[in-house]
Amino acid sequence: MHTHVKLTLRTPPDLPVDAQSLIPESFVGKDQADIGALPLLLGNRSVTVADFFDVAILPADPGDGRTEEAREGGTLHLCGDLSRFKHIGEQMACGRVVVDGSVGSHAGAFMTGGALDVNGEAGDYLGAHMSGGRITVRGSAGHFVGAAYRGYVFGMTGGSICIHGDAGHMVGARLRRGLVAVGGSCGDLAAYGMRAGTVLIGGKSRVRAGANMVRGTVILLTPPEAIMPTFRYNCVYCPGFWPILHASLAGLGLDFPGVSPQAVFESYSGDINEGGRGEILLCRNAN
């Protein structure tokens, strides 16, 4: 038996709200009153969940129960435009958060496990520093997806982020491990300073993809605006892992109709300023 809590936003706030308490672990074993009393920070003022949300504890959804994350830690279901709510799902370790609407910045940051499903848009720093778990965004995401905060050497160190729409600048910046996949286009500096891991961009990526990367793989399914002059062309080949990754992404609902599992890629190695051990794979036969 797992907990299934549904919070429905009554009126979106005008000020930003820090919602670090909106993770499944905060809700397990609590009654409606206790959940309503959980703290939020509106601007610099303490408020409660009940000030913004209608709280309902639902019988376990057999559909959710089928997912491993939901069986372990319960399900938190959020409804409404939560684009002013920051830090949703931050530091969650288990369970599942489903958002029917948009979320603000820092969603899923520092996650160590569980699943965050956003059926809308996500703000900046989605999954920043996450070390485990899975994030899926049906819409677009902001800047710094899976990236590091200022002053940190490593960003995301594990888990996966799957974005069906577009993403902003610095996707996967300083990534250390894990997968970031963007179905649409992305801004400048994708995989900037990446240490290891995989970043995949389905649509057009803007300039400086892979700049200052140390190791890892950047997969570009659409030709970018430009490839950095500090990358060297290697060869054309069919990476052995691509059919597996292709199937895995299809399982997450991310299809690339023009790219087959047998696609051929141009390989570039760089950034030569950081040792040249990273690679950019540019899909050659997009159809």
């Binding site: 920070l41 002059p229 060297r232 300023n273």
Partner: protein, 300 residues
């Protein structure tokens, strides 16, 4: 800047035009100054200018590289690679930012050959595509140059004492700007807590504006939000903000009618004295009185 005056035999101006923006900079601190180990002044220094168009500063340079806008990061990356001795093939990298690779080789060789080099960079570096990452890459370039010689970088800051608030915030919180105290402790995140993005998202519901003029400097959307919320402007002059600010508190101009400390762009503090009397209080006195009232209200 005293180091640059006394030691620098290579000066690079990148994305800045100090002849017009920092009028005494060249004669006192950089290319024209005669220093302890640079007695010949301009004759003893090599000057390189990198800019998107000819300016009075580029006209006085030994080497001027006119680059295409928005390529600061690529230029710094290629210079890094050349300094590190990486192989860049002319066929693959014929030109960077519209300038032939051979010219960048010349700059890299000048850096390697100098005894003491200084890179002065301005808004052309910090405010073009990539902004803060450009500065990071320029920092890495300077780091790589120091493998070969002594090499320094200095941002050409604009406006009087623009460095002062960075200094104070750093000694108070450890961060120079974009600091948020809503949790009761300092949080730093440019982009999230910077003025422009916060105004673009419509987050602030009140603003205290001290010694600056957002009405003249910020984009129209940001100003529109500021005009829609209560604002308090503290400024010695009438400007583009004061006509629409909810409350305007006139103060004595610092360095003229109020004493204080200015920070030069190389972080050197300069004490300024009060020259004349003013009927208005100083910024410091106004802010201290406001803080006292707020503390009193919180205790009540």
């Amino acid at each position: 800047m005293g180091e640059a005056r006394n030691r620098a035999d290579l000066i690079i101006y990148w994305g800045c035009n100090p002849v017009e923006t920092h009028m005494r900079h060249l004669s006192r601190y950089s290319s024209l100054a005669k220093g302890l180990y640079t007695p010949e002044g301009r004759k003893g220094r090599k000057v390189v200018a990198i800019d998107i168009r000819p300016t009075p500063t580029t006209k006085g340079a030994d080497l001027f590289l006119q680059v295409k806008p928005g390529n600061t990061f690529e230029i710094a990356s290629v210079l890094r690679a050349l300094l590190r001795g990486e192989r860049l093939e002319e066929e693959a990298v014929a030109a960077v930012a519209g300038v032939p690779l051979a010219s960048w080789r010349e700059v890299a060789e000048a850096i390697k050959a100098c005894r003491y080099g200084v890179l002065f960079f301005g808004l052309g570096v910090t405010q073009c595509r990539g902004s803060d990452i450009n500065v990071e890459q320029v920092g890495l370039l300077i780091q790589d140059a120091n493998v070969h010689t002594r090499f320094y970088g200095l941002a050409m800051r604009g406006h009087g004492n623009v460095n002062g608030s960075n200094q104070v915030m750093t000694w108070l919180t450890g961060y120079p700007m974009s600091v948020n105290f809503s949790h009761g402790f300092a949080q730093f995140n440019p982009g999230e807590f910077s003025v422009l993005p916060m105004l673009a998202r419509g987050e602030p519901d009140a603003a205290l504006i001290v010694a600056t003029d957002p009405g003249a400097h910020l984009p129209a959307d940001a100003v529109r939000h500021l005009r829609s919320i209560p604002t308090v402007a503290i400024d010695p002059h009438k400007n583009q903000t004061t006509p629409w600010a909810t409350v305007v508190i006139p103060v004595a101009p610092s360095g003229v009618a109020a004493a204080g400390t200015f920070y030069r762009m190389d972080n050197v503090p300069l004490r300024v004295r009060k020259l004349i009397e003013s009927p208005y209080p100083s910024d410091e006195e106004v802010l201290a009185a406001m803080k006292e009232r707020i503390d009193h209200a919180l205790r009540a």
